[in-house]
């Protein structure tokens, strides 16, 4: 009796293969050391932020401390997309687009990790009363970040994933992409104060509030300002009295801008006609959101 061998045809739909790739890459991204090391460095950053004391040091520091974690997420994404550049990947039963989309979706555990970290931080601040914001006589010890501001690191995690993917495609070298993201996040988070100008704060991925609105020369009596204003006193880096303004509307439009940037980067990472459409719509959304930020900025 002869034995019959049945050869199964590859499935017509690429969903199964894509879903398998999402699962595999998600597991690998979670095992990548960079996001966890980044988390450790972020925790260290937060600890040091609380030891510095000026009008909005803690408020700003809690936001910039996510920098190392974002760097780690970008690096994990670069490693994942770098794997996709091997010759063997071309023989996979899925298209380039499907593979790129699957790798982007595989980053969901890292976005979730960022969401959980930010939530834990916000709950901790609520429980402990908040952070200092302002100088005497216009000061509070119960400053809390607004919901659009808290959403920013989560969208930035999406952006970090897409940025890593786009850089691997543009530079065609994993190592080059790793070092470039190191400089990028070092610049964006490590020297964030350079991007706090009226226009620069709308364009930088990491927008750090409060805004400083000049209200008077250094010899002004601060008691003359309205009692409910949060103030920043003249000092080493500021030769006037300023009002600290946190604008949730500005932060919300910045979140929209970041979503546009995510689409733009994803469009670069997916080298097809659909990718170009995503890129163009991302650029439009980002441009519109920048315009709206300029309108609502204090």
């Amino acid at each position: 009796m002869s034995q019959t061998t049945t050869v199964r045809r590859p499935p017509k739909s690429t969903w199964a293969a894509s879903a398998a790739l999402v699962r595999v890459e998600a597991r690998r991204m979670v095992r990548h050391p960079a996001p966890w090391l980044g988390m450790l460095f972020s925790a260290w950053w937060v600890r040091n932020v609380t030891t510095v004391d000026w009008a909005s040091s803690s408020y700003e520091g809690f936001m910039t401390a996510v920098g190392p974690m974002l760097l780690g997420i970008s690096m994990a994404s670069i490693t994942s997309f770098g794997r996709g550049r091997t010759q063997l990947a071309e023989d996979a039963p899925t298209s380039t687009t499907a593979r790129a989309v699957a790798r982007l979706l595989a980053g969901w555990p890292l976005v979730l990790l960022m969401g959980l970290t930010v939530s834990a931080g916000a709950i901790h601040l609520r429980a402990t009363g908040g952070v200092r914001l302002g100088d005497e006589p216009g000061m509070t010890l119960h400053g809390h970040h607004s919901p659009p501001e808290l959403l920013q690191p989560v969208i930035l995690a999406l952006f970090a994933l897409a940025l890593g993917a786009a850089l691997v495609r543009l530079l065609r070298s994993q190592m080059a992409a790793h070092v470039v993201v190191f400089v990028f996040w070092g610049l964006v988070a490590g020297t964030y104060w350079m991007f706090q100008g009226h226009v620069a704060q709308t364009l930088t991925p990491l927008q750090v509030q409060p805004n400083l609105v000049p209200i008077g020369p250094p010899d002004t009596d601060p008691a003359l300002f309205p009692a409910d204003w949060l103030l920043s006193a003249p000092g080493e880096y500021q030769d006037h009295w300023a009002r600290l303004v946190v604008s949730p509307v500005l932060a919300a439009w910045h979140d929209v801008y970041l979503l546009g940037l995510v689409a733009l980067m994803a469009g670069i990472a997916v080298p097809t006609h659909r990718g170009r459409l995503v890129l163009a719509s991302g650029a439009l959304v980002a441009a519109g959101a920048v315009a709206m930020q300029l309108v609502v900025a204090p």
Binding site: R47, N48, A176, H178, V179, G190, T191
Partner: protein, 185 residues
């Protein structure tokens, strides 16, 4: 002295990381010059990135194939170093060029960048396969990031993470010793 090795050695180097980082740093420097303000605390990040990009250029992709040649792996690595290090030094000098005239610019020299670079080379030399390249690239990045994150309250820990900046020459000497001992053993 024969320089016939120059062309093949140049071709084996992966220049892309160094070119990408060099371009980014030069753009940052030009932007700083344009704005008239030096990015304080960016120099450590730049030094780490440049050191890592230089180490990323070192792997010999044809190492297995060339192992039968009379020039040893150590000689070939030395030649690649002789080619990439001057480029890194040149890029670092270009990056620092507008610094002295700008407010907030630190008094940075070549030594801290070289300390991170030699640390990366030492890690690249002693790390077991397949961790040679990731180890050599990651160490300067991690050390530079730690120095950026460390605060004044960290005491002895801050001293250690800032050693490449505050005491670069002992770090260079230690890294060089490790590299040579590993290569000669």
């Amino acid at each position: 002295m024969s320089v016939v090795w120059l062309r093949p050695a140049t071709r084996t180097i992966q220049w892309r990381p160094l070119v990408a980082v060099g371009a980014l740093l030069c753009a940052t420097s030009a932007l700083a010059a344009g704005l008239g303000e030096w990015p304080v605390s960016m120099a450590g990040t730049a030094a780490g990135a440049l050191a890592a990009a230089t180490v990323a250029g070192l792997p010999d992709r044809a190492g297995e194939l060339l192992s039968a040649l009379p020039s040893s792996a150590a000689t070939r690595q030395l030649r690649r170093l002789a080619l990439v290090v001057p480029v890194a030094v040149l890029l670092w000098s270009v990056y620092l060029l507008p610094g002295p005239g700008l407010p907030g610019s630190p008094t940075w020299s070549l030594a801290p960048m070289l300390a991170l670079l030699m640390t990366g080379v030492a890690a690249f030399t002693i790390a077991p396969a397949p961790w040679t390249l990731p180890g050599g690239v990651a160490l300067p990045l991690i050390w530079a990031l730690a120095a950026r994150v460390a605060g004044p309250s960290d005491g002895p820990v801050a001293e250690v993470v800032l050693a490449w900046h505050h005491h670069p020459w002992p770090v260079i000497a230690a890294a060089l010793t490790i590299t040579l001992v590993r290569r000669l053993s």
